[in-house]
Structure formats: C-alpha cells, structure tokens
C-alpha cells in the first residue's frame, strides 16, 4: 500500500499546528529571573518569549512604555550596542520598552544600578524586596516539557484537525477539498472553545477588563437623564 503522506510531511504539519494554535491563543505562562548587570539597560530575551505580561524589579512592577515615550523620558540617552551607548541615569528601573533594533530586546529606564545573578530563588514564590528582576510572559509551546505543553483535553484533537485540514488540502494524491473544509471548520471550532476556556478558566474575564468601580477619577461622572431626541424642539 503506497503512502499518501510521508511522516516528515505530517511532522511538519504538526509543528505548523503548534505555531497556529499559539498564535490564536496565547496560553503558556512562564516566569523567570533575568540576569541583570549594573550600568546596562538593554537585554536580549530568549526567542521563546512571545509576549511580556509583567516585569518586576525587587518585587515592584516596572511599567511598560512605548519606545517614543522612552525617548521623551530620556532625551539624553541612546544605545546602539554594548560598545556604543550614552547612558546617564542609573537607579531602580521604572519603565521598560521593546527595543526597535531587535524584537527580542528590552530596554530599562533608568539604567539598572544593581547586578542580579538570577541563580537562586523561585520566580513563582517571590520574596519581598528580593534582589531579582522577574519577567512574567507568554512563551512558545514545548511538547517535550509538560509544563509548557497544551492541556491534554485540547491538544490532540486540535492538532489532529489542523494536520488533516492541511494534509487534505495538499496538491497531489490524497487531495480532498471537502474533507479539508470539514477539518478546517472543526479546527476553528476547537480553537474558539479553547479561547473561551483560556479566558480566565471559568471565572469570567470581565474582572480583567476593568474593575468597574467608581474609585478612579476617570471612571466618575455625574449621572444624567437620557432625553428623547425631540426634547426642547418646537415644531411650528
């Protein structure tokens, strides 16, 4: 019996499925300590980091800002590389921005004034004022490590639907467009279901959107009645 699809091809699709799933649903949470050197503001993160969620310096949050805003904050500093840089302010970093020259670089401002080795401690149990810079992020899927894999109740079926969608779509022997359409629909359905589970599993996401309280100044406004559209209009 001749083979329709080779193992290599199916493995390639399995990798593509992984990429597609993690693009649709950022779900693998990861925390690590970043080794920091005093006087250096730009650090290259591991390429497995897909998006930064939160950075803390000695346990306190470092706020994100745009690169342009960072220029406005520090007009007297510029960094090209380790040898070509002009940096003046050194203290505890208050802001970070993604560096424009390398998508995996982040830059702190002010420039860190302490060095952290990132060897000891547990990023999931941070201690108060701990001498560490902790990065919480979304990372790539790694099927060799169960901590960074998709949950079993979603992984196999979703991956299978994607592989068969693309395999049946392939030109040549085995092409079946109606089958491909069927698996495409199934894959999209599974991804939507996973999205809804992942959005704060079973505790509504509304808590994350806004606190809905009236405690902040921007959320406060005087109540006013909704009037009919012809209010105070006289038609002669």
């Amino acid at each position: 019996m001749s083979t329709i699809w080779t193992d290599d091809f199916l493995e390639q699709l399995a990798t593509d499925a992984e990429q597609d799933i993690q693009q649709a649903v950022t779900c693998i949470y990861y925390r690590f300590y970043l080794p920091v050197v005093a006087g250096t503001s730009v650090y290259t993160l591991d390429p497995l980091v897909r998006g930064i969620k939160r950075i803390t310096w000695r346990g306190k949050k470092v706020d994100p800002c745009f690169w342009e805003d960072l220029h406005a904050l520090s007009p007297h500093t510029a960094v090209v590389d380790a040898g070509n840089r002009i940096e003046t302010s050194q203290s505890r970093p208050f802001w970070y921005a993604l560096h424009p020259t390398n998508i995996h670089d982040i830059r702190f401002y002010p420039t860190p004034n302490e060095s952290f080795d990132a060897v000891t401690g547990d990023p999931f149990s941070p201690a108060p004022n701990e001498a560490q810079c902790t990065i919480s992020c979304w990372r790539n899927i790694d099927i060799t490590n169960p901590l960074y894999s998709l949950p079993t109740y979603i992984d196999r079926r979703t991956r299978k639907a994607y592989i068969l969608w693309k395999a049946f779509e392939k030109e040549g022997k085995g092409q079946n467009l109606s089958a491909s359409k069927y698996y495409a629909q199934k894959y999209k359905f599974l991804i939507e279901q996973f999205k809804s589970i992942n959005q704060s599993p079973y505790v509504s996401k509304r808590y994350s959107l806004d606190d809905g309280s009236l405690s902040t100044l921007e959320a406060r406004r005087y109540s006013k009645p909704t009037l009919p559209p012809n209010f105070e209009r006289i038609i002669y």
């Binding site: 925390r31 069927y182 199934k186 599993p201 606190d211």
Partner: protein, 206 residues
C-alpha cells in the same frame, strides 16, 4: 446512561453493525466524553489543598491532574470565601502584590495551569483551602455513568457519530452531524452555566 448504553445507541444508529468495531466505538465515546465535559464544564469537584509558605503561583494542573478551571476557593483559616479578582486590580492594589505576606483573601486565574493568590502565608503548615473546580472527564468503564444530563446527552452521541463517519471518510454526512453537535453542545454549555442555578434566573431577568 452508561457507556454500554451509549454503545448500544450508536449500534442502533448505524445500519451495518459490523462496520465499526467495538474498539472504534469505545474510543469514540471516550474521546467525545473528554471533549464534551471539558467544553461544557459539567463535572465539578472539590478538594482540600494546603497553602504553601511563600508560594504566590499555584500550579493547579500538577496538583490536580484533572483540573480545567477554578470556580471558587474557601479559606479554612478565616472561614471566608476568597474573592476572584484580576491581575490589573491587584496591580492597582499594590505594585508588589506578588510578594505580600498575610492572610489569603483574593485569587486570580492566570491560565489553564496557574492561579495566583493575594496575600500569601509566611509560615509552614499555615493551613488548608477548599478549591471547587471544573474537572476533566474520567476514563469510562462499561458500567460507569456518563455524567451528562440525559436531556443533553445527544451532544455526546453527535460527537461519536461525527467521529465515526469521519473515520469512514463520509465527510458530507460528518459535516451535517457536526453542526448538530455544535448546537447541542452550546445548549449544554448554557445549561451548565446558568440553568442549573435556578435562583439566578429571577435576578438576571429582573
């Protein structure tokens, strides 16, 4: 309904009983059961877990292998329910909330694996909490009850028929049945989230 009952129903549906082996059918039932339960959240469990000294982020999927999502947490030290919140709210509360020691009062789910608590205990053997969570489906034995309400068990049957037709490369038939599966699953999800709590309905309807 048991797994055997479900298998009989499937055999009644397909004209040629020998076309699908029992092995295929049982695999399909288990697969469908896993999917329907995880997407609808029909199975709720409660267990006792200890607070860990200094731990902010609990890896619940390691602690509870069948964990899907948290519903609520009860602190047995204070005899109070811990309130669900968000990281954004916690950031507003304190910029160093992750490191704060004290009585655990709030919790926030991070993803399908982790949950963070605020504040965290600073002592060994501090105490326990009860966690109520949505669990994934167990492996079914022949006489095990399928834990889906009888009214909505069609969702599982639709899944199995779709899956078996898919294996026979009957994609047009499978697509039709798949639509039915989606509708029945949506009804089951609605039931699981609202209708089984009838006391909520008057509030929602005003």
């Amino acid at each position: 309904m048991t797994r055997t009952d479900q298998e009989i129903r499937l055999r009644n549906y397909f004209e040629n009983n020998d076309y699908y082996s029992s092995f295929d059918m049982l695999n399909s039932i288990q697969d469908g059961y896993d999917e329907v339960i995880s997407f609808s959240g029909c199975i709720v469990k409660a267990v006792v877990l200890p607070f860990v000294n200094g731990l902010t982020y609990y890896d619940l999927l390691t602690l509870l292998p069948d964990y899907i999502g948290v519903i609520s947490i009860y602190n047995t030290l204070t005899n109070r329910w811990m309130c669900p919140t968000s990281e954004r709210k916690l950031d507003k509360l304190r910029p160093d909330w992750e490191t704060c020691y004290g009585t655990p009062e709030l919790f926030t789910p991070i993803n399908h694996r982790y949950m963070a608590i605020y504040r965290k205990p600073n002592a060994d053997g501090y105490g326990n909490f009860y966690i109520y969570y949505i669990a994934s489906a167990p492996t079914l034995g022949p006489t095990d009850l399928i834990q889906i309400p009888t009214d909505y068990v069609n969702a599982l049957e639709d899944y199995c028929i779709t899956d078996l037709q898919e294996q026979a490369q009957e994609f047009t038939k499978a697509l039709t049945r798949f639509s039915s599966y989606q509708e029945n699953l949506a009804q089951l999800q609605r039931w699981a989230k609202s209708s089984r709590q009838p006391d909520r309905l008057p509030n929602l309807r005003g």
